[in-house]
Amino acid sequence: MPKNSHYQHLAEKWLSRHGELEKNLWSKHGDTLHWLQQNSAHTLIGAVGGLLLLTTGFLAQGAAHKVQAQEMVIKPLDTSAKLLIQLHEKLPDQVRPLTADEEKEIGKVLSDTYNMKVSAELQGIRLNRSYGLIGAEQHLYRYPGDTLDQHFDTAEDANLYASSGVAPGLGAWGYFAPSRAQFGKKDEMREKYYIAVQTFLAPGFNEHVGQYGLFFKYRKMLVVNPENGKAIVADIADAGPSEFTGKHLGGSPEVMHYLERQDGAARGPVLYFFIDDPHDTIPLGPVENI
């Protein structure tokens, strides 16, 4: 048998057996598994973790999970599934600051997956953490005289994002442009895809306020929801949230919507790593087609 068919042969055989085991499990214990699924969709990931690692999409499929699981299993893992598996294995069970080794390993996974160089530390500067709970921020005023309704190009966008409102104060660096006439596409994208991070908690911030301020201003970061693999290139346009909130960063309404993250009791973690983009070639916004 040719060597290159060893993998094919084993994968087909093992996946077929895996499918039988899965079918058997759901057929015998479906009621209990459904109960857990319905009562704790989030923790089911932990409950049948091994099972779900190969059937990543099936939690979201609701009642169709059996068919979906079978279909997912007989396909080779795509990039997105591979990413979820790797993150699931490398991330701690608790949302805590990552160790230097973890940051290095995860930075490599993200760099390879999204084809951009990312790291928790850039130019000797790092944030207080690179894995934390994200909360929802409001829109920011972009230039003097800006209003909420001017933020949206379509009725659909207005419908999705207007309810978040506009923050009463300006972002950490003031307006994005000094006037409406000078307000361009780049400024628009910077507000649309902004995040607020705890710059004030960055190691060394108090000793180098000016230098750090320049570094953080509109610095691009890759923000990834490790539970669905959705990633977005965002920029730092505000400082926050306060430590007492229990949150570690905030996302614009557009960032939160794309990542499928929510505030409040349903809030969840994201990874946020600096993007090394010295020539400003990586556009802000969702990272598609991985």
């Binding site: 048998m1 060597k3 060893h6 993998y7 042969h9 084993l10 994968a11 055989k13 093992w14 996946l15 057996r17 895996h18 085991l21 899965e22 058997n24 499990l25 015998k28 214990h29 209990t32 598994l33 109960w35 857990l36 704790s40 923790t43 089911l44 932990g46 409950a47 049948v48 973790g49 091994g50 099972l51 690692l53 190969l54 080779p76 893992l77 598996i85 699931h88 294995e89 490398k90 069970d93």
Partner: protein, 111 residues
């Protein structure tokens, strides 16, 4: 490749399978993928044997413990509620591992 820790990992290990896979000419991605299928298959097998051995009223508690990723608590619960839990889990897992190992051996013979 590091597998996610499970409550039964002190009695069931897939390391021998990983080593067997090393003896085939496979890329790292291929080995990782096959290891993942094996891990997941073992996981199904263990879940099945535990759930089958538990009375209905304890099944939900077991899944809740497992969902919390508190492996110590989960294992204690299983040990308390399932007679000969260690032996049952080990036997079921070993039986599957033998099948998987045989598949690898068969491939080597045909090579």
């Amino acid at each position: 490749m590091k597998a996610k820790k499970q409550f039964y990992h002190h009695i069931v290990s897939s390391q021998s399978l990983t080593l067997e896979l090393e003896s085939l000419e496979l890329s790292q991605n291929e080995k990782d993928h096959l290891s993942k299928i094996a891990e997941s298959s073992l996981h199904y097998t263990v879940l099945d044997i535990v759930l089958t051995s538990l009375p209905d009223e304890d099944k939900k508690t077991f899944l809740k413990h497992a969902a919390s990723d508190d492996h110590e608590k989960t294992w204690k619960f299983v040990k308390d509620k399932v007679e000969n839990a260690q032996e049952k889990i080990k036997n079921a897992a070993e039986s599957l591992k033998k099948e998987l190992q045989k598949d690898i051996e068969d491939l080597k013979t045909k090579a």
